[in-house]
């Protein structure tokens, strides 16, 4: 049999708007996203035989419900063999996709539903969010006692990158401007009502130097889901399935200060693996959905994957190459900086966006004739680099 027949393929995606929804329950974001994904796939819900929820951070009690099969029961899925949580922080989407594809390739699962939901916008206070992200994934022995937290962590990478490359604050701000342009075209993005200028970003409150408030993601409620099956079955179900062509990952640290290179991380190695497996190069990509919890990661991501030389990414954001209509459409949902950050969902949203674009379902922000996309994810304090290459055809 053709070895490609067992390859995993996306057949449906679902997503609810990212925002603040105090009036609804956290589980709504999970079941509504899952419902949309199943309907998008056009399959009978009872074809789902494996449910893979990822974790929610806002509430251990809610997360336990995800672990203990609430999604299966709420949706009335009658043929599910396993409900098994896969969690790797911000890399949950990539790790979930890899595990799900392995299950499909080996015949252990036929139709996998991956679901994310969280309530970090209304489930925790603003200071609660800061405090959560000054302990979650940060070493309690070696870093918490020194006032470490996620803005500082991004700032540490930014300052070293600036020192080594000469990147400017204007270039960093241009990443936010680019992502906002895409978010303006995305009904699910929180920040879709107003344009953003470099001047506005540069005038926003200083958090941890050189990082400013508008260069920081904000936490929101939200959810997303996708349905996978084998490449053999996908074309009979879905008019334009999206195939997993390659994936690569590198784990580089737990304690942030032990990262050997905070201005590069592990993207080059992870990207090489993913592109080699796909038999493609960055030049073949029609879009790049690069993880962007802060601007620095989106710049490093593009450079280390080979889309441009080191120190040159800023120019792509300033020139408009990454904007709608540009030559390198980048982070086309607006990313965590403009769609909003929902915990493990930041990269779930990027993965869904890559699939949405390739399926031709991206509405006003559709990248014309998109065939191949690269998507990235990272978890914790940028502990790993996960790269996924997707396409509408198998090269």
């Amino acid at each position: 049999m053709d070895k490609n027949a067992k390859r995993a393929a996306f057949i449906g995606i679902g997503e609810v708007p990212t925002g603040r929804f105090p009036e609804t329950a956290a589980i709504y974001h999970a079941i509504e996203s899952a419902k949309l994904a199943i309907r998008d796939a056009g399959i009978d819900k009872d074809e789902i035989d494996y449910v893979m929820p990822t974790a929610s951070l806002y509430s251990p009690a809610f997360n336990t419900e995800l672990v203990t099969c609430r999604i299966v029961e709420e949706l009335g899925l009658r043929n599910v063999n396993k409900n098994c949580q896969v969690f790797a922080g911000g890399s949950s989407s990539s790790c979930g996709l890899q595990l799900a594809s392995s299950l499909i390739e080996t015949g252990k699962a036929k139709t996998v539903l991956f679901v994310h939901a969280d309530r970090l916008g209304t489930g925790v206070t603003a200071q609660g969010g800061i405090d959560l992200f000054s302990t979650a994934g940060i070493s309690a022995e070696w870093e918490v006692p020194f006032g470490q937290h996620y803005s500082a962590i991004a700032a540490l990478a930014t300052n070293r990158y600036k020192f080594e490359t000469g990147c400017t604050d204007e270039e960093l701000s241009a990443v936010c401007v680019s992502n906002r342009k895409w978010a303006r075209l995305n009904p699910n993005a929180f920040f879709n009502k107003k344009d953003l200028s470099i001047e506005e970003v540069m005038a926003s409150k200083m958090l941890s130097t050189p990082l400013r408030a508008k260069q920081s993601n904000m936490l929101f409620d939200g959810g997303g889901a996708f349905v996978l099956t084998s490449a053999e079955r996908a074309p009979d179900i879905c008019p334009r399935p999206v195939y997993l062509l390659g994936e690569g990952g590198t784990v580089t640290h737990f304690v942030y200060s032990q990262e050997p290179d905070v201005s590069r991380f592990g993207w080059a190695r992870a990207g090489k693996k993913a592109f080699e497996q796909a038999g493609l190069t960055p030049r073949d990509m029609d879009l790049a959905e690069i993880y962007d919890s802060y601007p620095i990661y989106q710049m490093i991501g593009l450079e280390e994957l080979g889309f441009c030389e080191r120190g040159e990414a800023g120019k792509l954001f300033v020139s408009g190459a990454t904007w709608p209509g540009g030559s390198l459409p980048c982070t086309t949902n607006g990313g965590m900086l403009s769609q909003g950050h929902t915990g493990a969902g930041g990269a779930v949203a990027l993965m869904i966006e890559a699939v949405r674009q390739l399926m031709g379902k991206a509405g006003d922000r559709q990248v014309r004739d998109a065939r191949f996309a690269v998507e990235t994810a990272t978890g914790g304090t940028y502990m790993d680099a996960q790269v996924t290459v997707l396409g509408t055809e198998i090269p």
Partner: protein
């Protein structure tokens, strides 16, 4: 407003010699006798060669700032009163690196590759934190 107590290091038993030494104002790290690698943070086996023939040695306390940031707003609750404060990754002469604060200078005077040396700040009766100041 009640001041929120600073978080104290949650100490792993095998790292206790590090914190005991810090209380005596000494900065120590592990050295692997099998492969000669210097090790930080403390491990139960060498992360390079996996040997458990490790000994504690005293650091010179001198190094340079690999990278830094001045926290000006949105600090964790226990650090709000400290703003502005400098968080930095310091690379020691011995080749190991650690997170700390740069103190004893204008926070905005800190730059990458700035030479620094260790100073000790008592946190409470139980803990002393190694921090760094410009040389």
């Amino acid at each position: 407003m009640t001041a929120i107590e600073k978080p104290v290091p949650v100490v792993n038993p095998w790292a206790k010699p590090f914190w005991d030494a810090a209380n005596r104002e000494k900065l120590v790290f592990q050295h692997c006798n099998a492969c000669s690698k210097n090790i930080f943070y403390p491990r139960i086996a060498c992360p390079d060669c996996f040997s458990d023939d490790l000994e504690w040695i005293e650091a010179s306390g001198k190094g340079r700032v690999y990278t830094y940031t001045v926290v000006e707003s949105n600090a964790p609750s226990a650090f709000v009163d400290d703003m502005p404060y400098v968080v930095a990754i310091v690379k020691l002469a011995e080749g190991i690196q650690l997170l700390s604060n740069i103190v004893g200078c204008d926070p905005h005077s800190v730059v990458c590759e700035m030479p620094v040396e260790v100073v000790f700040e008592r946190l409470n009766n139980e803990f002393t934190l190694p921090k760094f100041r410009p040389i």
